[in-house]
């Protein structure tokens, strides 16, 4: 059984204007996303800023109320639970935030920061809590003597360790890490990534790892979900996504990652996406990626491609799938709800995709 099932989750934010604060529009931050997370795995969540990856993460831990859809955690639908019933659940799901400078209260001592979750949930007495916090400090590679210090006395990497210790305090099953290393220097970044890996093994943790750095995500993830403008556009086992991306957006994202090797950097063909991500208030019709896609045809403007299973746990939503062989394509086309149903004539014949200018 999956630890977490996200089913058709939507999160819209109202845009209000005028004296009466009437709702004039809606930001479609997360729009009908379904994904499941198995116990002990790491699901990477990638996409550009504004694609809804952080909103999805926050909606899963119910820091945000979903507009629609279900979040099933350990077989229980938690999408409608009130604050009181949510509290015990908070022990099971914790977050590690991006900015280690902003996510720790500067007026509190480290011991209090890490110990507060224990106190809130009434675990142990003052003495045992102190011992537990000191143990946690050691677990994340800090020293128990740091108990009485303030956050400003620590470097960025050490602060992120404190953030990790706080998330671990209640022995959660699921940790949602939202860009946990993007504010850190490379040498420190690798320390935190290794730490997260060690902790996962030690405590059998399940991670949802949100990041925009595709190198980092590949390093930590078992499976990767790619989001674009609130939609899940591709979901795949990690290595497979890098070897044969199906969705052209994923292909472009991968080709934009700078390679620290001058010869290889010069040799490869880079797909530079033109323009910016469109507004999620009024997303493009059909496939949301079509205005920036180099393979886009008429069908992409009209019909939204469904998320299609190409086998091997590799799903993608695209009318012009890349890196898919003929046999798979035919099998998928025969299946109901396939892209073929949308418009047979617009489908590419060869697996490399059509060469539309």
């Amino acid at each position: 059984m999956s630890l977490l099932e996200v089913q058709h989750v939507k999160k819209y934010f109202p845009v209000r204007k005028g004296l009466l604060q009437r709702e004039v529009a809606r930001v479609h931050a997360v729009d009908d996303v379904s994904v499941s997370v198995q116990e002990g795995e790491t699901l990477g969540l990638v996409g550009e800023s504004g694609c809804g990856k952080s909103t999805l993460g926050r909606t899963i831990v119910r820091l945000l109320e979903p507009t629609d859809g279900e979040i099933v955690f350990e077989g229980r639908n938690i999408s409608k639970l009130g604050a009181g019933k949510l509290r015990p659940l908070r022990r099971e799901m914790q977050m590690v935030f991006q900015d280690p400078y902003a996510s720790l209260n500067p007026r509190k001592r480290v011991g209090t920061i890490i110990g507060d979750p224990l106190e809130i949930h009434g675990i142990g007495d003052a003495k045992s809590r102190r011992a537990r916090v000191q143990e946690l400090l050691r677990t994340v590679g800090l020293s128990p003597e740091h108990y009485n210090r303030f956050p400003h006395e620590f470097s960025g990497g050490q602060r992120q360790r404190i953030g990790v210790a706080r998330a671990l305090a209640l022995q959660p099953k699921l940790i949602i890490a939202d860009e946990p290393v993007s504010a850190l220097d490379v040498s420190i970044q690798s320390q935190i990534l290794n730490l997260l890996g060690d902790l996962q093994e030690e405590f059998r943790l399940t991670y949802i790892f949100i990041a925009h750095d595709l190198g980092v995500v590949r390093h930590v993830s078992d499976r990767i979900a790619v989001m674009y403008l609130g939609k899940l556009v591709e979901l795949s086992p990690a290595e497979e996504l890098y070897e044969r991306p199906i969705m052209p957006y994923t292909e472009a994202l991968l080709s934009a990652v700078p390679i620290p090797d001058p010869d290889r950097a010069e040799a490869r063909e880079r797909i530079v996406l033109t323009g910016d991500v469109p507004s999620p208030i009024d997303p493009p019709s059909g496939c949301r990626f079509h205005p920036r896609c180099r393979y886009a045809t008429e069908v992409c403007k009209q019909v939204e491609p469904p998320l299609t299973d190409y086998g091997n746990g590799h799903l993608a939503a695209c009318h012009h799938p890349l890196n898919v062989d003929q046999a798979t394509l035919e099998r998928v086309r025969a299946a109901p709800e396939s892209p073929a149903e949308a418009d047979k004539s617009a489908l590419p014949v060869d697996s490399s995709g059509p060469s539309n200018p």
């Binding site: 690798s190 190198g215 590949r218 990652v257 620290p260 090797d261």
Partner: protein
């Protein structure tokens, strides 16, 4: 044609007096920049790369700052210039692109007016002419529909467009040297690729030279000609891009190369890490500044190694006592990162 030298920095040291003591932010930086070249300066936070750039522009001048060395721009030492003369260089001859396009533009002025202001500060042109030039610049940096976007406020621009507007402003007076301090750090990879390509192309269009400051080795691998690796205010390695990537000589450079999870290599089980954190710039360690974090340190490292050419390639300098053979023997393990993951 001989390369035209535009900028030369010699023995630059910058110290800030603070309540806690003297901060040795930059402690011995030398480099030269020729027209048409891109120099990449790589290092982590606190390595002195931004202070070096800001000092070239005269932005670190203060009663509590002490300078040593020279910043020679077209035969004049910029460090000696009085502030009013420096203003003729800053912006006009040497342009700067800052890291954060969200905070570097004034939110209450129209983008076009901010570019017009930059042009008029350095050149005696009337407002209409300056505005026409602003539109042209916005077009050159790839802002769609510049005639109307010139009247937008910064908040109406996306992050990538704001960075383009910043670049347009930096280019407004046709500078010979463009300093870009982490120009893509705040941007998404797809936008980063656009901006890097833009800087590379504009360098040729405007026939200028670029100093690109970044912590991302991937970015400099794309467009730099020469590289400078900085650590604790010092240059620890300096050379051409290829020698530096394919024959790196300093253990810190190896560590940087090994710490990045790379898409062009098999996935590793664990990442290489540089243990510990960078030293305090007030109380620097004795000898080699990287010694406390260096797995290869030995007795001699208590004495600071000079920045010298130790390899066959001329112009490839490093600051490490290990013999070249010893370095080549031990470095691969670090650079390759961790062991490849089991299938």
């Amino acid at each position: 044609m001989a390369d035209e030298r535009l900028l030369e920095v010699r023995g630059l040291k910058v110290q800030f007096a603070t309540e806690d003591g003297v901060v040795h932010a930059v402690d011995g930086v030398d480099f030269a920049l020729d027209r048409g070249k891109v120099l990449g300066i790589v290092g982590e936070s606190g390595s002195g790369k931004s202070v070096t750039a800001m000092t070239i522009l005269g932005l670190t001048r203060d009663v509590n700052t002490r300078f040593e060395g020279e910043v020679i721009y077209k035969d004049r030492n910029l460090l000696d210039l009085p502030e009013n003369e420096m203003q003729q260089y800053r912006g006009a001859e040497i342009g700067m692109i800052f890291q954060d396009p969200m905070t570097s533009l004034n939110p209450v002025y129209r983008v076009g007016d901010q570019i017009v202001e930059a042009i008029q500060a350095h050149e005696p042109v009337d407002k209409r002419k300056a505005r026409r030039r602003a539109v042209e610049l916005l077009r050159q940096v790839g802002i769609p529909n510049p005639e109307s976007r010139v009247d937008d406020y910064p908040h109406q621009f996306s992050g990538g467009m704001r960075q383009r507007a910043m670049i347009a402003m930096a280019l407004s007076c046709n500078p010979d040297v463009l300093i870009a301090d982490e120009p893509t750090t705040a941007l998404d990879v797809t936008i980063q690729a656009q901006i890097i390509e833009l800087i590379d192309q504009l360098k040729d269009d405007f026939n200028s030279a670029v100093i690109l400051i970044t912590h991302d080795l991937g970015v400099v691998a794309e467009i730099a000609d020469d590289l400078l690796v900085m650590y604790a205010g010092r240059v620890v390695e300096h050379g051409g891009k290829r020698p530096l990537f394919y024959d790196p000589q300093h253990p810190y450079t190896w560590g940087l190369l090994g710490s990045i999870p790379r898409l062009d290599r098999p996935r590793s089980e664990r990442l290489h890490t540089i243990e510990g954190s960078p030293p305090s710039l007030i109380r620097l360690p004795q000898g080699c500044k990287f010694r406390p974090r260096c797995p290869h340190a030995f007795e001699k490292c208590l004495e600071e190694p000079p920045l010298e050419n130790r390899v066959e390639t001329p112009g490839h300098l490093d600051r490490c006592w290990l013999t070249v053979e010893a370095k080549r023997a031990v470095r691969d393990e670090t650079i390759e990162g961790g062991e490849p993951a089991a299938a």
